[in-house]
């Protein structure tokens, strides 16, 4: 009776979902985002493309993320210099799983927690540790890049260059949008604002 009816309903195979051919075709159009030249002939395809590649994008390094949550964490850990300072004194690396409020001293500790407590895979693609080039500064948390990008397909990271902006005022993160001019050189030899100030103060 009731349950049988329910199961017959569930077993109905022909539910037209994600029915690509059933969607109305429109004249081909191109994605309007800068630097993107994908072409589409259905609105749904474009929508999915937009959500995947342009929606949760870091304005600093152009990496795309599957959700706002992961983007926020990324910006905090990769592009916020205050984060680096604070993380030396307290546990700042938050667990990636929504609903879990644990925080950790290092990215590695967080990864261990993800694997042991949340049964995440050890090579979870959205938990890449921050790579850094150049000498040790007192600001940057030194993270040795542990993962080589596997040869199994492209991952979410759109660019491989690690770019850092000049230090921004406390509290402002994503709102501070800018484009890094190609002529500016980062990495070895670059002096960062805080460091200079600190040295100056020492005199």
């Amino acid at each position: 009776e009731g349950d049988v009816q329910r199961h017959l309903y569930l077993q109905d195979v022909l539910t037209g979902v994600a029915g690509v051919p059933e969607r109305p075709r429109v004249p081909e159009f191109t994605c309007q985002m800068a630097g993107c030249c994908q072409v589409f002939d259905t609105l749904e395809d474009y929508e999915h493309h937009y959500h995947t590649l342009h929606r949760n994008v870091c304005s600093f390094c152009k990496r795309a993320f599957p959700s706002g949550h992961l983007l926020d964490i990324h910006i905090l850990e990769w592009h916020d210099s205050l984060f680096q300072v604070l993380s030396e004194r307290q546990d700042m690396y938050q667990c990636l799983v929504e609903g879990c409020t644990e925080k950790f001293k290092t990215s590695k500790d967080r990864k261990d927690h993800l694997v042991r407590h949340h049964l995440y895979p050890g090579d979870f693609r959205f938990d890449k540790p921050k790579k850094s080039k150049g000498p040790a500064t007192s600001m940057a948390a030194m993270e040795v890049p542990t993962e080589a990008m596997g040869d199994d397909g492209d991952t979410m990271e759109v660019c491989s260059e690690h770019v850092t902006p000049p230090p921004e005022p406390v509290g402002e993160k994503r709102t501070y949008r800018h484009r890094v001019p190609s002529t500016v050189c980062f990495g070895q030899g670059a002096s960062r604002g805080f460091k200079s100030t600190k040295n100056r103060n020492k005199h």
């Binding site: 009731g2 349950d3 009816q5 569930l10 077993q11 690509v20 949760n56 609903g99």
Partner: protein
């Protein structure tokens, strides 16, 4: 309950407690039986693309080499359309169990598929998700279990924004949930409940329906009452569920059906129904019942019909909760319109789904058991005759109809005055001719009550050859005591 009645009721077995206990036993037995039959159903989304029919390329079984080729092409192809096409071909091949087996046995295949799922090519990602979905639907458990490495990503994408992808992920998760306890043991620590709690705020109906499906599978797990339902109840999920069940122009039947069943599974587990009641479950369900009675006959929406069963069940079960009995929830259900709605639905079920009549009658039973005012409504709205008309449908239905009538009769002389004279006595003489022991037994109980509060009825009974009708069952072990008691009563009124 007044004590003199109690004393009489106990041997007759018509007490409210007894009814409730029997009902729960019966329901538990049914559920057990169904579980043993392993009523497992997965949902498969498959679009019958015209290309498949046209091109004449009916999906054929793929061998190892072909699978490897498609995967390589999808990963490293230069032309985007080419890469997508490779995955489409793979997906079609995966409709075959043999291809599925070959795929999971191929080293690195799942890893590659997951890599494509997390790639930066949106349409490739979607096709990879479809391949995964196809695998999750397999009847062979090892195939579905091979998908488990992907679950952390499926959950991650639930927090994304692409409704197509989220919907696919949800149906895939639902299939994996129902397939294996190992899958559930992994999904819970991976945070499936918080992920669903966020996702349920989506405005997309397709997403909501998929979520309801996945949740309903999660809630039916055998370990659900201990390990799953408490955290679901502690999350914002129940409030959203009830919001999506609110009747009105915004009600979507596909979505509502899923969440009505979810609610049913939660209520059945009896983990914390009081919490649901404080969230307004009784009120929402009551309003939904009225809405269904008003629209189910005239509506083209087949989905609304599917709502009837779970709504009836949810209300029936909630009525047994003490919080409702204390008067809180009963206030809403004392509305006469509820009684009318039930009868409209009973008529509808009689025409379209007679096997579901017991569901409606259970609700009526639970309502009449505790509420004199509902019994009054039954009488004043002249609903006894329609009720009696249901007697011939089946033995189960007969027993329930007679039980409802017992509930009315045991409320006292004022009620029995409206039961006789009337069509009741002739109907009872008919049911005494049934061979089913339960039907006869319940008829005897009703007669006992009738004779107690309306002695004149006993006289009429005798005049209409009642004693002969009783004699037939004198030898039946289960009925003997009651038959003799009734014979005594009738003769020595």
């Amino acid at each position: 309950m007044l004590s003199p009645r109690q004393g009489l009721l106990r041997p007759v077995g018509c007490g409210v407690e007894e009814l409730r206990r029997r009902r729960r036993e019966r329901e538990a037995a049914l559920r057990r039986a169904r579980r043993e039959q392993q009523l497992v159903s997965k949902r498969l989304l498959r679009d019958d693309t015209p290309e498949e029919a046209e091109g004449g390329c009916v999906a054929s079984v793929l061998g190892e080499a072909e699978i490897q080729q498609f995967l390589r092409l999808a990963q490293r192809g230069t032309e985007e359309k080419e890469r997508e096409g490779a995955l489409v071909s793979l997906r079609r091949g995966l409709q075959h169990p043999e291809t599925q087996q070959t795929f999971i046995r191929l080293e690195g295949s799942m890893r590659t598929l997951v890599g494509l799922l997390t790639s930066n090519q949106a349409l490739l990602q979607l096709e990879a998700a479809r391949c995964l979905h196809e695998l999750s639907h397999s009847e062979q458990s090892e195939v579905a279990e091979a998908c488990l490495p992907a679950t952390s990503y499926l959950l991650t994408y639930l927090a994304g924004h692409s409704p197509d992808l989220i919907e696919l992920c949800l149906y895939t998760l639902g299939n994996l949930i129902v397939e294996s306890e190992a899958g559930r043991r992994q999904l819970l620590p991976q945070g499936i409940v918080p992920a669903l709690a966020s996702c349920i705020q989506s405005p997309h109906l397709a997403v909501l329906e998929a979520l309801g499906y996945a949740l309903s599978q999660l809630l039916q797990a055998k370990e659900a009452p201990k390990k799953i339902i408490p955290s679901v109840l502690a999350s914002p999920i129940p409030e959203h569920m009830l919001r999506l069940l609110q009747p009105g122009p915004k009600l979507n039947s596909g979505v509502a059906v899923e969440f009505a069943w979810c609610l049913h599974y939660i209520i059945c587990s009896q983990v914390n129904n009081a919490l649901l009641i404080t969230h307004g479950a009784v009120s929402t369900l009551g309003l939904l019942l009225l809405y269904l009675a008003g629209t189910v006959q005239s509506s083209e929406d087949a989905g609304l019909e599917l709502l009837v069963c779970p709504v009836l069940r949810c209300l029936s079960n909630l009525l047994t909760e003490e919080a409702v009995e204390a008067g809180g929830g009963q206030v809403q259900l004392r509305d006469e319109r509820v009684v009318v709605s039930i009868f409209i639905l009973l008529q509808f079920l009689l025409q379209k789904h007679p096997s579901l009549l017991p569901e409606g009658l259970w609700l009526l039973n639970n309502l009449t058991a505790n509420s004199p005012s509902i019994c009054t409504s039954l009488l004043s709205l002249d609903l006894i005759k329609p009720l009696l008309q249901l007697l011939p449908v089946s033995n189960v239905v007969s027993v329930l109809v007679l039980t409802v009538l017992c509930n009315v009769a045991e409320k006292g002389p004022a009620y029995c005055q409206h039961l006789w004279p009337g069509p009741l006595l002739p109907s009872l003489l008919d049911t005494l001719a049934f061979s089913d022991t339960e039907v006869v037994g319940q008829s005897l109980e009703l007669l006992q009550l009738l004779f107690l509060y309306r002695p004149e009825a006993a006289q009429a009974f005798l005049q209409q050859s009642g004693l002969q009708a009783l004699k037939r069952h004198e030898e039946e072990a289960q009925l003997q005591d009651r038959v003799h008691a009734l014979q005594q009563k009738a003769l020595h009124r």
